[in-house]
Amino acid sequence: MANAVLAFKDFNVIKGIWGSPWVGLKHFNAFFENPIFWTLLQNTLLLSLFLLLAGFPIPILLALMLNEVRSARFKKFVQLVTFAPYFISTVVMVSIIMLFLAPRLGFANVALQYFGFDPINFLGEPGMFRTIYVTSDIWQTAGYAAVIYLAALAGIDPTLYEAAKVDGASRLQKIIHVDLPGILPTITIILILNVGNVMSLGFEKIYLLQNSLNLPSSEVIATYVYSIGLLNANYSFATAVGLFNSVINLVLLVTVNTLAKRLSNTSIW
């Protein structure tokens, strides 16, 4: 991590990291003035935001619904199945996406043609990229993320349910007035952790899903660091970009944590 000082230096292979000259904020300035800066920032933020907006509530809904199910066997089965995709590796996940969305033979296009629509090159459309990314992410992780909420729901004091029942609450009212407040601290903590990760998107998956056609919307800061730094060996500049990313992340995390502490007295430290 100490090597992050590289961001403030001009890296020279012969002199090594510590021997390279200091250049101050040169690389940061170069990055901010580069027109790609805004594209990268926009892509990173939009993708994260979509992921947060769509991906965050779904596990909560799933857990709330599962919690209502009375048949223990059905509940267990749904849990088992929805948890399973979590174990699929990123490479296999992207392979599945590509097979399903392949331009001609993919399942999605075969189905489209079957119903008389024109096939779509899903992965080649920059406009489709975020939808594909977010949907597949939800498919893969919703069941996993629901586990924590289910545990929190199991910890709610049963007398509250009895009281609600005596007061004649319907199931929906019970969810709104007992379940949700009961798991609010858990929701807050997970939200804080998620916001802290807003800028550190799952690089591995984006990188694999990238192709020259969808690059306008799929190039994010992390993939840019990889291609500039490791493929083009522009170490100092890439370090600066990466460091910028990390700093934003930390600032976001601290901000959300402080906000949550003020509003609901829940925080991660």
Binding site: N3, S95, I148, L230
Partner: protein, 302 residues
């Protein structure tokens, strides 16, 4: 049911609205179930169908013209088998190293008498929230001369901070301070205590660590992508990437089946996905409870 016979009471009847609500919940959950299961079944079915059925889109749910040609080709391809062997090696060696190191870091951090405990814990947690980034990490690995060696996949990511935190809170809540004192009086050394008292009492958490690290290693590809150069060291995931995602099946195909090459290439992708994922998915139902346990231990604030 024993309770209801002991204290018979009338069930409050559900209102029509509630029953409708429950019906909606069951319907939605069933849809979720189908949405998750369908792609998985489709892939398994495709992998055991005939090549031409796959490419002509005849497979909808169940296999068509069952054949195991895809799997036969896979097991005859040295590139894939080397990858499989490598992955098995990385998984077992990596898990042993990671679990040992994690326990050796987490256990002292759980003891109140450990000097500098909170400072070290702060440092460890800080690395989880903030990292120097990809390039500095890469350069460190490079300086240590680990590029293009098997160690590059085993050492740099050996410890996951999250696992340390989970293990630490487990030790903290299950190993009472009195136990340490008692063994100290009996003349037990720290190592002996860790080995013959702490570990036997911590089987559940060791299981969690082993499984998390094992699955993590099996599924990882990124470290291999940046640190490894020679393909004889490649783990299975990288081989998969080159065959499926980069559509590069030249090395796999036997020249005698050139004619059906395109069809075969499609089929191979499905078979490869099955081969790479099956080991994990088969053991998963038996070990799911450990994962759930691990997540819950971790969510208890330490």
């Amino acid at each position: 049911m024993a309770i209801s016979t002991a204290a018979p009471r009338r069930r409050i009847r559900e209102s029509a609205g509630d029953r409708l609500f429950m019906f909606a919940i069951y319907a939605i959950l069933s849809l979720v179930l189908i949405a998750v299961l369908y792609p998985l079944i489709y892939i398994v079915s495709s992998s055991i169908s005939s090549p031409s059925a796959v490419t002509s889109g005849k497979v909808w749910l169940w296999p068509v013209d069952v054949s195991f040609r895809g799997f036969e080709t896979i097991f005859k391809t040295p590139q894939i088998m080397t990858g499989y062997g490598n992955s098995l090696f990385y998984m077992s060696a990596g898990t042993v190293i990671s679990v040992t190191l994690t326990i050796m870091l987490a256990y002292p951090l759980s003891r109140k008498t450990f000097f500098g405990r909170s400072a070290i814990l702060m440092l460890v947690t800080f690395t989880m929230l903030f990292s120097g980034g990809l390039i500095p990490t890469y350069l460190v690995v490079k300086e240590m001369g680990l590029i293009d060696s098997r160690w590059a996949l085993l050492i740099p990511n050996a410890i996951w901070v999250w696992q340390v935190i989970i293990a630490r809170s487990f030790f903290q809540s299950t190993i009472p301070e009195e136990l340490v004192e008692a063994s100290e009086i009996d003349g037990c050394s720290d190592w002996r205590f860790l080995w013959s008292v702490v570990l036997p009492l911590s089987k559940p958490i060791v299981a969690v660590l082993v499984l998390m690290y094992a699955v993590g290693q099996w599924n990882a590809y990124f470290d291999a992508l940046i640190y490894l150069k020679s393909d004889k060291l490649y783990p299975l995931q990288l081989v998969l990437r080159s065959i499926i995602i980069q559509n590069n099946s030249a090395g796999v195909m036997d020249p005698s089946i050139q004619v059906q090459r395109a069809e075969m290439a499609e089929l191979l992708k499905y078979s490869l996905i099955v081969v790479a994922t099956l080991p994990v998915l088969i053991i998963y139902p038996f070990v799911q409870r450990y994962f759930v346990q691990g997540m819950l231990v971790g969510s208890v604030k330490g």
